[in-house]
Symmetry: C2
Subunit: 136 residues, 2 copies
DNA sequence: CCTTGACTTCAAGTGTACTTGAAGAAGTAC
DNA sequence: GTACTTCTTCAAGTACACTTGAAGTCAAGG
């Protein structure tokens, strides 16, 4: 199994070396072996980094990801360890989607609007917000 | 027209006085009149603040909102002045929604997964990512 | 031997959007 | 006349996720 130094890991994963050191310092990554002081990784680091990246993009903070990975490390099924966190996050994602869609409505009104003044456009926007809340 | 002091504007708008001063310092709000040093606003400030709030929730940064409001101030129709910015933002919103939905898929896999190890779960996640890209 | 390049550590800096704290002034209440 | 509240300014602090800089180490190449 080929051993990688941090520069190569950074290049392959697209994650900056400084970020990799940071993740390590935060406990997201295990302490790697060293060769004359330098970090040496095997390729499994790439999967771990892509998992971290995925979790990040799922909206998890570094602190949360640490908890998630701690679950992995203990080899317990995620379902148990992650349930609360992932359910909360699923809700947040739904909220985020709903909010983004509301923003899209706002932007579409703004773009189609030929308002000569602030007041008119404000009114149009308020109307669109009301429309967005119709089904509540 | 009733004149409001910053505390009342804050109470009515739901935006902290410190945030209002901050927006002013950033050029999002005009310099208000003063009465013995204190800011005095008329009610139109409330509309302006709600517009700022709206733009914020549409994902615009303070710097961007400043540009948008500069357009308003010149009373040119938003459609022209905002086109580039809003179109870009619409794209970003679509990306954000797509990403959030991808993350939901990931989370659902993770939750239903009984992986004994990191590797298995990683595979399941990768499979779900591929599934998310089917139609591309 | 000396330079080069990739690495090391640790502290401090970055950007965003505010908030908080200190020290003081103005008008109101008793 | 002094206590209280609400305001004023300005500098510094907060949170997050890194990045950057300084100063030094290590192995390889010329």
């Amino acid at each position: 199994m080929p051993e990688l130094r941090i520069g190569e890991v950074a290049a392959r994963s697209g994650i900056a070396a400084s970020a990799i050191r940071f993740y390590e310092s935060e406990g997201l990554l295990p302490n790697p072996d060293r060769e004359s002081g330098r970090r040496v990784y095997d390729e499994s680091i790439l999967e771990r980094l892509s998992l971290i990246d995925l979790a990040k993009r799922a909206g998890f903070s570094v602190a949360e990801i640490k908890k998630l990975l701690a679950g992995f490390a203990r080899r317990t099924p995620p379902a148990e360890r992650w349930r609360v966190l992932t359910e909360k996050k699923l809700k947040q994602l739904d909220e985020r989607i709903a909010e983004a869609e509301q923003m899209k409505r706002v932007l579409r009104v703004v773009m189609s609007c030929r308002c000569p003044s602030l007041e008119d456009c404000s009114k149009a926007i308020h109307a669109s917000r009301a429309a967005g809340r119709e089904g509540e």
